[in-house]
Subunit: 340 residues, 2 copies
């Protein structure tokens, strides 16, 4: 892939990263946004999409999903470029002071500034805790949604993502046998999803097994069956050729730890004037940073992104300070917002 030259790369598409796009936009700086998730929103869309948040200023109540939608609408005039489903694996400082940023998708950015808005880290699929099963990952074992040509499919999980995948596979009508495996006979999903699952079970299209994977059988290097232990302790063999697990996501700091940044208990140290790290040109905003008084609150991330954008403009424009203007009165900002 051709390296992309840019003024600003933002790592993380949660609220901090999205508002960073906005504040950079007001400074006439276009941003590329990288996120390990396949969609914007970060923790808000992953950990609490439907839970209400009550402490966003002037929004007495809004869900994580709604907050994301609102921020995406707000940054639309600035046309950020999203690079999703990939994480930054390497950052190197170049001789000219710019940074070479490489993602897991092989994309390289040559950027003047870098914003770490990584929240609590990148979200990784939580893995099955079954000894030896990792050897099948990528062939017969998949985490999350993935195209499948399975004949005997087992889907593990009890939340909407697992159920939605089961419904999709049943409706495709290609797979011979589809089994939903969950540690108990209770699911967390919207009523319509639960109703559809009940229908599919009644018509025998979908099998349901309650229990946990406590072992597996293999033939040569092929996974052939799972040993399932029911809550009462009974075990059974469940034959399969493909296993899809939906065990949720858990955040990991990941490669950021290797970028040469000063850390304090896995948080990136920044100043409170520019929210800049010990490496000039690299800023950190939101839950991932730390400074005296730091609170991991979205409201604070918005402030941090604001001051970091001013500092970025000064950094890019050879230390010429960016003037403060108001969106209410500035014709220039209103033009940038696409209003005039």
């Amino acid at each position: 892939m051709i390296p992309i030259p840019s003024d600003a790369v933002i790592v993380g598409a949660g609220p901090a990263g999205l508002f960073q796009v906005f504040q950079l936009g007001l400074q006439e700086i276009h941003a590329h946004v990288i996120d390990s998730l396949p969609h914007a929103g970060g923790q808000c869309s992953t950990l609490y999409p439907d839970k209400p948040i009550y402490d966003i200023p002037a929004l007495p109540v809004c869900t994580g999903r709604e907050l994301t939608t609102r921020l995406l609408a707000q940054i639309k005039p600035f046309k950020p470029t999203f690079h999703l489903d990939q994480e930054v694996i390497q950052v190197e400082k170049l001789a000219n002071g710019h940074f070479e940023v490489t993602t897991s998708a092989g994309q390289i950015f040559l950027t003047r500034t870098l914003f770490i808005a990584g929240g609590v880290g990148s979200f990784q699929a939580r893995e099955l805790q079954v000894e030896g099963i990792a050897q099948f990952r990528g062939t017969q074992l998949h985490y999350g949604v993935h195209d499948t040509a399975a004949q005997q499919l087992v889907i593990v999980g009890g939340e909407a993502a697992a159920l939605d995948f089961a419904i999709t596979q049943c409706e495709k009508n290609v797979t011979t046998s589809i089994t939903l495996l969950h540690r108990r006979d209770h699911f967390q999903a919207p009523p319509a999803t639960l109703d559809r699952i009940t229908q599919l079970r009644l018509t025998q299209r979908l099998q349901m097994v309650v229990g946990q994977i406590t072992g597996f059988a293999q033939s040569r290097d092929r996974l052939t069956a799972l040993r399932i232990t029911a809550p009462q302790g009974d075990t059974q063999q469940l034959p399969l050729d493909t296993l899809h697990a939906f065990l949720g996501l858990s955040p990991k700091l990941g490669p950021i730890a290797q970028w040469g940044l000063n850390l304090d208990k896995k948080q990136v140290q920044v100043d409170t004037e520019k929210f800049q790290t010990n490496i000039p040109g690299i800023f950190a905003v939101g839950d991932i940073n730390t400074y005296p008084g730091k609170k991991r609150l979205i409201t604070c991330a918005f402030h941090e992104a604001t001051l970091a954008a001013f500092a970025c403009a000064t950094h890019i424009h050879a230390d010429l300070a960016a003037p403060l203007q108001y969106t209410t009165t500035s014709k220039k900002l209103q033009r940038l917002l696409g209003l005039t």
Copy 2:
């Protein structure tokens, strides 16, 4: 008046002061709010009530008035006590470390902490620049809305406040003669207001004079007439017994300058951990404070109020740090918000 004991007094009911109420509420600290204006909203409701603001996070567009309404809704569960139409004239530190705060209405607060959220200062009516006319203030000359038993009333001003007052007086049908005086024949007000003014002029209920006050006549200590100079230079005498001026508001730092706070170019110096001034227990948030990197933006004020609230809780609870909780998950915060 009986002194009011309190944990927190907030000076200023603009966005910073209102969000300060919210963040203190989450810390279980009730707040008294003092403002020189007769209503909440500060600059937002005074300088740009109907102008759109585009940079409040997750609110792609909202007017100053709407922002105020939203913040008032958000702080409702915390039942702040408003003390409007008065300004703080004196702050004294007491032997027990508390503060005695006195307002221009004679109200005294004995408070453990004080938050200066005074924006650009308290708003004072802009005065007529006519030599000697100040002697009539409070008797025949009034700034802004005020009950009147006038027979010959002159109202000065060209914006909605002046026009609304003229309409109200005309409709009361008590005053013999009502004259609207403005330096030019063009008004700034909503169309419905302008239409009503035109009607009243057509029916001769309201007189209109274009020009500026360049002098006055008096008989003993009574104001009897104004000398009006028209744009073309002609002068006329305008008899009257009462004059109401609506020349807008202008902010003044006012008595804050005398409270012993460290100032930098009329801004109150604070740290960025607690947003506390040089006097422990006195915090400053929003446009009135300064620190390295400071930008006078509402988004920044929200962050400052948040950290100041944590610091206040620590200050009140004998240095026991306030734990970070989330409104999305904390049963305690949800109870405080009146949700459970």
